[in-house]
Assembly symmetry: C2
Homo-oligomer: 236 residues x 2
């Protein structure tokens, strides 16, 4: 393909294999406090290397699908979920990620809504874990999750990504709880409210959430578009 770089000895070595993995975030109530916290599904490895350890859902890139499609399919196959947000995270290609072979993983990260997340498949070999309480994962997957969390926090602070963890209608307090869960600090309700009200992408509806114990909060709707990725650019 390119003139300068390929030589014969490189050609004879097996090329690095290519895999797609996904870090899938969803909101679930904490067992202790009941407040929403970040969770993600992992799959148990049933083969070497790292047999028995938990790992990110993933698999090889099949020939007739784009990277994003592969991540999406991957997500659906392991958890039964459809993502409400999907973005490329990073391509990890260190030499010793896998002890047995050279593998380059293109990792995506996804957000799923709680209505979806409640339907997620769980089984002996697929289970959800709190994002801040993971044990030792296979390969370099702990570092990948750390980076995905960093990216999520970043996008949250600057972008309009929180709404993809919620349903179509939500209260401002629910949005605040998402921020508090992801950023891991408390936010002033009144100030937070003021900021959200100044963003044009959040639309006030005429309805209120009923059935709570206190003053019924107004419901809002998110009207913005997700992203600015190369994969999503044409649709904007």
């Amino acid at each position: 393909m390119y003139s300068s770089s390929a030589n014969v000895s490189e050609r004879q070595a097996a090329p690095p294999s290519l895999a797609i993995s996904t870090v899938i975030f969803a909101l679930r109530p904490s067992e202790s406090s009941g407040r929403p916290t970040l969770w993600l599904p992992l799959v148990r490895r049933i083969r070497e290397p790292f047999k028995g350890l938990w790992a990110l859902p993933g698999g090889p890139l099949s020939h007739a699908e784009s990277l994003q499609d592969a991540a999406s399919r991957n997500l659906r196959e392991t958890t039964g979920l459809a993502p409400s947000y999907l973005e490329q995270l990073y391509a990890f290609g260190g030499l010793h990620r896998s002890p047995t072979q050279r593998v380059v993983s293109i990792v995506y990260w996804a957000l799923v809504q709680p209505t979806e997340a409640a339907l997620a498949d769980e089984s002996e070999n697929v289970r959800w874990f709190r994002a801040d309480r993971l044990g030792e994962l296979a390969f370099d997957h702990n570092a990948i999750v750390d980076y995905a969390l960093w990216r999520l926090r970043n996008k949250l602070a600057y972008g309009s990504v929180a709404y993809h963890l919620l349903g179509e209608y939500f209260t401002l307090a629910q949005v605040r709880e998402v921020y508090e869960a992801v950023l891991d600090r408390e936010l002033d309700p009144a100030n937070f409210r003021r900021q959200l009200k100044s963003t044009p992408e959040i639309e006030e509806t005429g309805e209120f959430l009923q059935g709570g114990k206190h003053r019924p909060p107004r419901l809002y709707r998110f009207t913005g578009r997700p992203g600015l990725d190369p994969d999503n650019r044409s649709t904007v």
Copy 2:
């Protein structure tokens, strides 16, 4: 690599091939105004597909090097340069990027300092172009450059990346010129100065740039660390 004459069944059996490309930015004076503008090196394709068109420097990933090392080597081989900043941009894996085979490109973007850039190799098949005046490039490389420019502008506004386009010592006006070239708008010298002086990563030196036509500006030095990539995290 796989021959372009492979038939359909062979193509489907073969895994997508993996390549590394780099978008390399450097500052050069505009021919017309003399003010610094963004330039990047391209290589002319000497084979099909897209024979004769200009393309980003790139090549296959060799077996014993990390993704970043491959990008770095790539850059050195085509231009003779060493980057002062190198970061992964995106993995492009659309189905029809190349008409002859499925190829996934992991693209890096780099900044090189002007002293380096002046030494860059140019030849019949390697030439520098103004980033805002590229013609039609091979593959999806126009879109890749657009995305790299977007990313550069973003990093500039929020990160501390401008200094990697300058030498070790620089004046505040030079930094402002970088911002003006990349963001394509004029900035107030006094306000810009105030902002830079409030960032702790910029260190005042006791020296001044001599030989100018007017009041000699003080020289500064950048003392920050570059990034927060997975590839660079351990060094922070």
